[in-house]
């Protein structure tokens, strides 16, 4: 469904050039929940921007249902990490969620119904008339998720969506996302630096290296569903998968050619 092949992205040119992504190849199938993990500064946000059509890759292709991306496609919706900047403070919750629907649905009643459904899905039915800044961080991110859902995308891209909320809220939002996915069947692609989160949520975890990024490996998550914050995380298999991903992330990337490469390896021994 979504295919990324040999994606490469370099910012700037000449001496100033920074290679954010070296070589990314991955596919996301319909209905899948894929998590992408990588260390901080691994070009994860750059990759997501390429996937949702905001950035043009330097080379390589992103195709959606066989069609190469040229600008943001209507099949993809995004949930950004920074909800306070992604939600418009001058619009109410209802207006924010309904914002992208104007160009899709002509009837106002239809739009209102879709907004109501989306708000219900994230448990914010009675907050439609509030402004985002009147809500807590976790509620604001639920508004952003509702906006993504109301857009009725085939794929929902989530860029470290729970990185700015406290641990309890984070767990609640993870379960909310799993429930939404079960209810709607929407394909999810979530980027995170939290290994537990990736293993807990995903069908498949794609592990990215530090910058310039390559795909280190893909880990199939064969944990049973529905998942549960307590019982799933107690499974020996959860610990195994978690260790597998962690080992991948901590292993130095093979393309690493920094001058002190050898001394680093020496230290580890």
């Amino acid at each position: 469904m979504l295919t990324v092949s040999n994606l490469q992205k370099t910012y700037g040119s000449g001496d100033q050039a920074v290679e954010a992504i070296r070589d990314l190849t991955l596919t996301v199938d319909k209905g899948e929940f894929v998590c992408i993990v990588g260390p901080s500064g691994a070009g994860k946000s750059t990759m997501l921007k390429c996937l949702c059509g905001l950035l043009q890759p330097s080379s390589g292709t992103v195709t959606l249902n066989g069609v190469p991306l040229n600008g943001p496609p209507k099949e993809i919706a995004s949930v950004f990490q920074d909800y306070s900047r992604s939600l418009m403070p001058w619009f109410t919750v209802r207006r924010n969620v309904g914002l992208p629907l104007r160009n899709r649905h002509r009837s106002a009643a239809d739009r209102a119904a879709r907004v109501a459904t989306a708000l219900e899905a994230v448990g914010l039915t009675s907050f439609g008339g509030r402004y985002p800044w009147q809500l807590s961080g976790g509620m604001q991110q639920r508004v952003a998720i509702a906006r993504g859902l109301a857009y009725a995308p085939e794929i929902l891209l989530l860029d470290e969506p729970f990185a700015s909320v406290d641990a309890q809220t984070r767990a609640d939002l993870e379960d909310l996302i799993l429930r939404v996915r079960d209810d709607t069947g929407v394909t999810m692609l979530l980027v995170t630096h939290d290994i537990d989160e990736a293993v807990y949520l995903a069908d498949r975890v794609v592990v990215m290296s530090a910058r310039p990024s390559v795909v280190l490996d893909t880990v199939e998550v064969d944990l049973p569903r529905p998942r549960d914050q307590v019982t799933t995380k107690q499974l020996p298999r959860f610990a195994e998968l978690r260790a597998q991903v962690l080992t991948l992330i901590r292993r130095p990337a093979h393309h690493d050619s920094t001058p002190d490469h050898h001394s680093k390896i020496g230290e580890r021994r």
Binding site: R85, S86, S136, M139
Partner: protein, 254 residues
């Protein structure tokens, strides 16, 4: 004891009282009359047509100049902020003309057009243009990239982005520009009327002063001051209404 009177009122009362006492004692020259005489003049003349005529002429100059200056300033500022070529083309020119006080153009304008309201309006509009241009420029540059990306990802059209993202984003800057521009426009309009002898509060002031009607002169000054305060209050009110959502105006939080 609770302080029931606001402190600014005390300051004003002290100033008025001192002025009155000094003028009555003869310590001040005749050109500075006692406060009570100024108040008396205002009281007897507030109902006269002449005074309100002058006020309405000045307000007309102010309003037309403000609309002109704000419109041109906003458009040019937005163009400079969003089109790099326009910025390159205009930045030097703007930086050169901006610090020049508009009064220097007055002699030429009077020669070209004569002592007409158009001269006052044109120069006041130029004065209003600069703060508006700069505020719009900064405002558009300061639009949050995440908000911009959000609008693009959700497929908003260009007019929708302008109305729902760009306009609200720059609104705080626009209101600051408006308030500054409004004050400057009033100042310049009155000054140009005064120097260029164009009908309005400025010209009325000059006439009274040159005829030795000092209480009347100060009466007009008081009116000009009140006008400035009133206009500023109107814009602040509008700003509070339009920017209820902005962090500096929010009244309730989670």
């Amino acid at each position: 004891m609770r302080l029931t009177m606001p402190l600014p009122v005390l300051t004003t009362a002290a100033l008025l009282g001192t002025g009155e006492a000094l003028a009555r004692s003869g310590a001040l020259p005749a050109e500075i009359p006692p406060v009570s005489e100024i108040a008396g003049w205002l009281w007897t003349n507030l109902a006269t047509v002449d005074l309100w005529m002058a006020v309405s002429q000045t307000l007309t100059h102010w309003a037309v100049a403000l609309v002109l200056g704000v419109t041109v300033g906003t458009l040019v500022g937005a163009a400079m902020a969003s089109v790099p070529v326009v910025n390159e083309l205009l930045l030097g020119t703007v930086e050169f003309f901006r610090p020049i006080p508009v009064v220097v153009y007055l002699p030429i304008m009077l020669l070209l057009l004569g002592a007409r309201p158009a001269v006052v309006i044109l120069l006041a509009a130029v004065a209003a243009l600069w703060p508006m241009l700069l505020q719009t420029l900064y405002g558009v540059r300061d639009i949050d990239p995440v908000t911009r990306d959000t609008a693009r990802v959700f497929g908003l059209t260009t007019p929708q982005r302008l109305a729902w993202v760009t306009a609200p984003s720059i609104l705080p800057y626009v209101f600051t520009g408006l308030r500054i521009a409004s004050t400057i426009t009033l100042l310049v309009a009155i000054a140009m009327e005064l120097i260029g002898a164009v009908a309005g509060l400025g010209n009325t002031l000059a006439t009274y002063a040159s005829n030795g009607l000092y209480a009347a002169t100060y009466g007009v000054i008081v009116i000009a001051g009140l006008l400035g305060v009133a206009l500023n209050a109107v814009f602040e009110r509008l700003e509070r209404r339009a920017l209820r959502w902005h962090p500096s105006h929010r009244t309730q939080n989670a």
